[in-house]
Assembly symmetry: C2
Homo-oligomer: 406 residues x 2
């Protein structure tokens, strides 16, 4: 599918993602300076600044990147690193730019970490799902909001996420209860692509009540986390996680947010990264709209008031439009198809778009034995590339839409 | 109460308000140039521009200002003119300023009347009620919106109007069904002052279903119209009427408005006059909030998003604050008290603030015969200065609040 980074780089980045807290400016600068492999070696040999050694002390002794990569493999995760093709350089350019002033302060020795999370690029991303992160993060909208969403907020979220997904916009959110979960579900319901950025390791869902949602997102979209398997989501990680939601989105829509909602932190990150912040107004009698109204009347950088999908597209539709050919969820499908074995690809090509076929019919069309067809179909099914009925198999609806296969 | 303009001026302005359509730039310029008495004489003698003669032709023949003034008197109306103390020069200064470019165009002969209503000062106002228009228009907020208001809109309107009235802000609106009516009623419920600007003559309520509301406003607040008694409200008069709501308000709050609501016309007038436009957000799923959301996201001169009474006060509270002593609804009451006959004033002074008294008790306290007390009490009652119960009479709540009478 994509160029795979060298094993030593993967090992080093797995190690760094384990020992450093997400958003650590000093560690990111150190890695940029000496490279990931040398950075790991230096930390292991305790040949780094006392600050860095102190900040990584808690996890250095127990860090075992081989075990983390093996665990990731068991959980179907891959490690996406800046050295691999799937790294969303375009999306993270804003993070890197926003890091510059922090880097200056850090070098001058007067850097104090902000509790709200720093806009530092991640060192690596643990990823699960068939989507391609680079492609997905080009035409994408973050939809975030209250966990304790109102029926109104859930209704609007479903409407927006479904409509955007139908318009080939990738829906990015955080997998929480409330607005987040509705956004992911509605994007899935629209046969669209969705990215769930988790604050903890992807070996488990957080909250556990959304485990089924995580699985569904992993089937057709992307689960993303900065933390290796086994990391529990902590408050600080939610705040640093939010910068990734902002960075991976062309713009961020806040649907509902109470006065001190985490969604406002995501909006703050979006502003820092130059991403448009969009907010949905609501009844002034609803505590869940207070944060949105506050965003809408900020004196500087007020959010854009949006009431429908077209409003959102008017703001973010232009962003990345030159890259739209690359960005379309089409690419999710293309990369899945490119990843198939020659036999599986032949079997896929033997499927009808609309009419269901039996395995023996498919075998005739694709020149593969019926036994091989029968062996291959489950993999195509698992990849979400086909639909089944009593009458047989055909191309999945989202694949028809993406490839124009008729 | 206030200095009364000379009879010939009243007659002339009554005539002019009958023959000219509200918002007629040419007529207003002509009257400013030659004065109202000469303007009437000229129109009657057909010694005016052909344009003015054409524009007033329809009503000149039948105009009978003596009859209009007599009819007004029968309906309890007074004619407030620029030559009288009660004329709200301060409030109308913005109208006069906004007329300047129209005047230039008119003189150059390339003036075309806008259907949305021109910001021309009125020639005279027909007024009913105990309030003083000058005082009332200094610390005042227009609350306007949809006739087909939603329960949400009515709830917010009641909350705002009640709260503003309690904070001694005069509530200005148009007497229509929906938001307007709720605004007036909530202000009355708060023992506050309210101004109802009607699009038709004040001999009748429009809509007739709000006749009781008109009566209640007339008891303690002000009914205002540019049109003499007998004038039916026409579409164009609603649009020109809206400029008066804007002019008489320090700021205008649009609570609910459909996409093409008349409330948006009032907001347009407010912008023209430099009055802040405030809008209440609502559910994006409600057609009644579409106009508000459009106001909130205008690229130039976007409305201020308000969610509560304090938000409104933060925007308009400062305006006229130097004049607040003059503007307080207190002055409604003061001017009522100043307007009383010496006997009526003595009887009023004989009332207890909280304890109900019988007429004979009042007589003892104020040194007026019991018969005179009994004769005078109905007038005080009609003026809204007292409250009655089986136990007798006492000072009305709003008067207690305004005068601090204990």
């Amino acid at each position: 599918m994509t160029a795979i980074a060298a094993t030593d780089v993967l090992l080093a980045r797995a190690y760094l993602s384990r020992v450093g807290e997400p958003g650590n400016v000093g560690l990111w600068l150190f890695v940029r300076e000496v490279g990931p492999v040398a950075a790991m070696a230096a930390l292991r040999a305790e040949r780094a600044s006392s600050r860095l050694l102190a900040e990584t002390a808690a996890r250095r002794a127990a860090a075992d990147p081989e075990a983390d990569l093996a665990s990731a493999d068991r959980h179907g995760l891959r490690l996406v690193v800046p050295e691999s093709d799937e790294w969303p350089h375009f999306a993270f350019a804003a993070l890197q730019a926003a890091t510059a002033p922090l880097a200056r302060a850090y070098r001058k020795g007067d850097y104090v970490r902000k509790e709200s999370g720093e806009p530092v690029p991640p060192l690596a991303l643990w990823v699960r799902g068939p989507g391609d992160l680079t492609a997905a993060a080009v035409r994408s909208v973050g939809i975030v909001g209250a966990r304790a969403a109102s029926p109104y907020g859930e209704h609007v979220t479903a409407d927006f996420a479904f409509g955007l997904a139908r318009r080939e916009v990738v829906v990015v959110s955080g997998g929480a209860y409330g607005i987040d979960a509705v956004a992911h579900r509605a994007a899935l319901a629209a046969d669209g692509a969705t990215i769930l950025v988790s604050a903890g390791g992807l070996d488990r869902a957080y909250p556990t009540g959304n485990a089924a949602l995580y699985e569904r997102v992993a089937e057709t979209g992307l689960l993303v986390s900065e933390s290796p398997p086994g990391c529990a989501p902590q408050r600080r990680r939610f705040l640093t996680r939010n910068r990734l939601i902002a960075a991976l989105s062309t713009g961020v829509v806040v649907v509902e947010a109470a006065a001190r909602s985490g969604a406002l932190n995501t909006a703050m990150h979006a502003r820092t990264l130059g991403r448009p912040v969009l907010a949905v107004p609501g009844p002034v009698t609803s505590a869940m709209s207070v944060g949105c109204h506050d965003l809408l009347r900020r004196e500087d950088d007020a959010a854009v008031l949006v009431t429908c999908v077209d409003d959102v597209l008017a703001v973010v539709g232009g962003a990345g439009e030159g890259l739209v050919e690359r960005a379309k969820p089409t690419d999710f499908v293309r990369s899945e198809l490119d990843g198939l074995s020659p036999t599986a690809r032949a079997v896929f090509d033997g499927l009808h778009a609309l009419r269901f076929s039996r395995p023996d019919e498919i075998a005739v069309r694709c020149g593969v034995t019926a036994l091989e067809v029968i062996r291959t179909l489950p993999a195509l099914d698992a990849a979400g590339l086909l639909e089944t009925s009593d009458a047989g198999y055909r191309v999945a609806a989202r694949v028809r839409a993406a490839t124009g296969k008729r």
